[in-house]
């Protein structure tokens, strides 16, 4: 079964190139290419995709909001953020909204395809850059009610932030690679659970918070 990919990108040429890249890759097919978040919300549910490549800088509805709304409509959908440059606040907001990773637009095409496959396989790829911000996030909003990271999760996160690969972390902590991956996944989930309410309130306003 090939992976169904959708694209939300307002740049016409880049959109066309991404479509060509996806359709030219083995095991991937493009099921939709949308020029705006509004269009994606309207049309994507009718053309179910496994993974969406989401531009952050969209003309009206932002990529962050579109990510949040899509995840509400289609919780199984995996969203990968595509962004032009360092935009840590918005990248992180999108992760809080349920995005599974981010790519810079300058990423070589091969790595874009690899990232799509990784996300689809349920991996929760976390870069050091994101790990730093996750640490910052949990330090910043320490409220006793919200889920905290377990000591092991914190240890894994600290090593990711220092640039260690999952495999190296497994060796250092005496864990299996699978366990390290599951910790990362659980970190993402806690991040989203913790932030979903606050972030949703921020983006949608209290009435639509869910």
């Amino acid at each position: 079964m090939s992976i169904a990919v959708a694209i939300v990108e307002d740049g016409k040429r880049l959109r066309a190139q991404l479509v060509a890249l996806i359709n030219g890759a083995r095991g991937l097919r493009c099921v939709g290419a949308y020029a705006s978040g509004e269009q994606a919300l309207r049309e994507l549910p009718g053309h179910p995709a496994d993974v969406v490549l989401m531009d952050l800088n969209l003309p009206q509805m932002s990529g962050v909001e579109c990510t949040g709304r899509l995840k509400q409509l289609l919780p199984a959908l995996q969203v990968v953020i595509l962004t032009m440059y360092d935009d840590s606040e918005r990248i992180f907001q999108a992760l809080e909204m349920g995005a599974s990773g981010y790519l810079l637009k300058s990423t070589p095409p091969g790595d874009i395809l690899k990232a799509i496959a990784d996300v689809r396989q349920g991996g929760a790829p976390m870069s050091s850059y994101i790990a730093r911000q996750v640490v910052q996030f949990f330090a910043r909003r320490a409220s006793p009610k919200a889920p905290q990271l377990a000591p092991r999760e914190e240890a894994v996160l600290a090593l990711v932030a220092q640039g260690y690969l999952n495999k190296e972390i497994a060796e250092q902590l005496g864990l299996s690679l699978e366990t390290v991956r599951s910790y990362l996944k659980s970190i993402y989930e806690k991040l989203q659970v913790r932030s979903r309410t606050e972030a949703a309130m921020k983006v949608f306003g209290p009435s639509k918070a869910g």
Binding site: M84, Y85, D86, S88, L104, K105, S106, T107, P108, D111, S127, S128, Y129, R132, Q133, V135, Q136, A139, A161, Q162, G163, Y164, L165
Partner: protein, 502 residues
Amino acid sequence: MGHALPVARGLGALNKRRTSRPLGRRRRARAWWLAGLLGCALHASGAVLWRGPGPWEAHDNGAGVDVLHGEVKPQGNTSSSTLFFKFSVEPLSDAITGQTKLYEAGLVLYERGQERLGVGKGLVAHAYSAFNATGRGLFLEPAAKSHGIGEFDLRAQPKDSNAGLLEVPLRGIVRTILFKVHYAPGDDALVTVWFQPDLTPGNTEFSQWPGQITQFKAKAAFDELHFCHRGGGEGWRFSDLAVATAFEDFVAPHVWQQGWVVGLAALLGLGGLGGSLWLLERRQVRRRVLKLERARDLDQERARIARDLHDDLGVRLAEISLLANQDHGRADNREHLAQALRKIAGIAHETAQMADGIVWAVNPRNDTLHHLANYLVQFAENFFRPTPIRCRLDVPVQLPPYRLSSELRHHLLLAVKEACHNAARHSGATELWLRLNLAEATLVISIEDNGRGFDPQTVAEGGDGLLNMRTRMTSVGGRVELAAAPGQGMRIQLVVPLPPEE
């Protein structure tokens, strides 16, 4: 007089504006005074301490004679100040490689009868050089290293030219040399030389072309300045000597910074106000001074961005265009085409990263240490991912809220990029650490690898890369520290004092 400006109308003291003639005349006098004030304000950054137009001719004159006559305060080895020296030279005969008659010529600093730093041409060197330098050259090896006499070739490569890095003095070719001496108490002074600096309006010591900058250490205490020529040839002619406290003092002012333009502007401004209140005038003038200063800062910033866009993006895009438009006549040769495409992809990727860096640096939203740390982590991680080097990060997650200017972030980012490229290309390392530390308002970013390293005593490592890094760091008031040993990797530290915390 009925045309009072709406702005002024609200002021209670407006009656005073219904003036009699004498007052109007007084106002005019005030305008001139103000114009003078404006002129001063614009040039308040430093001052030319002394000018000696010359010319002086020196021909085999041994120690020469003092031309300064005590006009500038002597500097000793306890001084901690910075002085800029500028002068022009005209060799009266060629210095040709291999000629038997060696000579030495230049501006020489003398301290209590002792010869200190000389800038011109050393005895053994064939090119423009400095002599009596003590420290190892930061950028170049000594010109006559084997002779051990502390001569340093001056980098003299014109911008946009394929000419060599050095220049041999030739008869009748006039050259301007500007050098900065940064005195450090108890240590040798740090000397920076600009060969043929660009002194047209808007330039600064930081806007100069790196191919014409040389740095080294020397004993540079002085109480006299001599023009000397010793040895063969017809001698040298020197002129336009000046000593100042800032590089900008040698830079021609913009048209709008010139006294008469400012004066005229102030006058016109005052005329336009129809002779308004003294307070109002003063406020206007102050505002105008601020505006001009801001315009000048903005000008420099714009010049920097333009340069970056040209050097970093323009050049690469031109390369791509050239590659794509090459004669692909051998279109049947798939390998040839594939190679060109791979190259194009590589350069395009680089260009995109460059654009990313420029946009990031220019955006004022990123003006904090926190953003710098995040960006460096993101850059290093992405940069080393496709390489055999594992990038480790030792960057504090929480950082104090320092504000960093766009310029500082830009130079730090490019210096870090340079160090990373260096490591990827030459180190053969398997692991690299990017560290960021903050101690007493001094930021230290270090790039450390476990590669093959080098022996700093024997190898002039880094070349242009290191030169660029040093130029960048110097331009933001920082420095580069290098530690390496054969087989033990190397460490590059970028050290920069931070502005006070807000």
